[in-house]
Symmetry: C2
Subunit: 283 residues, 2 copies
């Protein structure tokens, strides 16, 4: 038997706190609001946008969407962000990534007010995480992993955690966050040799590779806790993670399913960031 770490329970728990915060804001006639900036008409972006708006509406968070042409100019982007930075009714700004290549991503990231940067794109917010200061905005996927581990009482202090990902949205911030929780952290990637012998010795393995079912039972021990961040599509068109779930389930201590795992927590944390931002901006 492996414990199945569903994301839903974690998300519900987070939402309970959030609802109280939203109610308290309402008493002061404040309703949190997020501004979403979408460039172009990518189906992934549209689906993500819909899911955010639905979740926000259910919780009582206002949304406004800015749909920009793919040809939007650098100045138009910067002017819009500047307007939203100054708008006291907007508490969070979310810009879908990646941007079209003619836009300067670095410049745009820095232009988002650090106080409204709910998706943690501003380098000042990222640097805080590098320093281990976890009281600001964090990339939601990395934060979701930590929330999952905390919710299921999985010990971090002194644990060996292996992360297979070195991106700025998952692996790198997550490694710093786990260090702050006193875990010993190993960061692996495509150039890592003998990956399975490294993961086999870990207490916790977090994967965000993006290859359907590439990781099987050979990578784990019976004491492994396995957190699968990826959402891939398998040969039959079904959603799956990096882990070959059917091969691994039953042979490890605990495992997240895909779907219904980490992904369920990520959007909730994005909304939590809007609400937390709203509270800080209205103290």
């Amino acid at each position: 038997m492996s414990e199945i770490l569903y994301g839903k329970n974690v998300a519900l728990n987070l939402k309970e706190d959030m609802k109280k915060n939203i109610e308290n804001l309402k008493k002061k006639n404040i309703i949190p609001k997020v501004a979403i900036i979408r460039i172009g008409e990518k189906s992934d972006d549209i689906a993500y946008e819909k899911s955010i708006i639905k979740n926000c509406t259910n919780l009582g968070v206002n949304t406004e969407t800015y749909k920009l042409e793919k040809s939007v100019s650098q100045n138009e982007m910067l002017n819009l962000i500047d307007k939203l930075n100054k708008d006291t009714e907007v508490n969070g700004i979310l810009v879908f990534r990646p941007f079209p290549k003619h836009l300067d991503q670095e410049l745009i990231n820095s232009s988002i007010s650090a106080k409204k940067d709910i998706d943690c794109m501003n380098p000042l917010n990222l640097e805080k995480i590098f320093e281990g200061k976890l009281d600001g905005f964090m990339p939601c996927t990395a934060e979701a992993v930590v929330e999952m581990l905390k919710y299921y009482n999985i010990n971090l202090e002194g644990s060996n955690v292996v992360i297979i990902n070195r991106s700025m949205v998952v692996g790198k911030p997550l490694s710093m966050m786990l260090l702050s929780h006193n875990a010993t952290v190993t960061i692996c990637h495509s150039k890592t040799k003998k990956l399975s012998s490294i993961t086999k010795n870990a207490d916790i393995v977090v994967t965000a590779v993006g290859k359907a079912k590439m990781i099987d039972e050979e990578y784990f021990s019976k004491d492994s806790v396995v957190i699968d961040v990826s959402i891939n599509v398998d040969d039959n068109g079904k959603l799956c993670g990096d882990i070959d779930y059917d091969s691994v389930y039953g042979k490890v201590k605990a495992i997240t399913p895909v779907p219904r795992g980490v992904g369920s927590v990520t959007t909730t944390l994005l909304i939590k960031n809007i609400v937390d931002g709203c509270i800080k901006q209205n103290i």
Copy 2:
């Protein structure tokens, strides 16, 4: 036999390039200059200052020192840094750390122009390292480790590197720099369990613990490359590293001595940062 990795050779090699750059600047009537800000009269600081001035003078880099009272106010500090930021003759600003507690370290770090931030205190420069962008200023000790490994042709790609330190001047920036060189990186610290079994499996071990001779041969294999960053004082008042050198020498592939190891490279890199900053500011 273990190969002894002396810092001197690495420093000399770096100085060769630096001398050429300084000569080229001289042809344009430009002499690189660093402003050193020292608060109070700590003997460590005074020794470090002397060593920097001596090294700068030998290479033809100008220095100017600002000696401030321990009671210096926040505003005096910020005004001085602002003046130096604007002074086109000053190419690098070095403020000795740590500061007296009444000063806001974060605010002062951010106030140093990112272009003159030769000791990598500004969060914008640190965040670049977090992202793996290694074309800017880097903390000199972390950079010295990378330069040592590169000079002695120690392969990084796919190698397992264990770092025993998680500070913002060594462990964290070094881990990001090594990731950019495609190493697999493990970050250990005081809460790490079974440290010796982790280091024993590594290709390269970097220690910056600050405890004289705490690490003996049990931590390594015959193929280990051992980089000792610490400079401690042993029971007999002699300088030594974290490694019990006499126990380990001969039983590993390569090892840095203390003194005459990494420390010899660090100051050289600080001066290199002044010169590189000067070049960029005068393009």
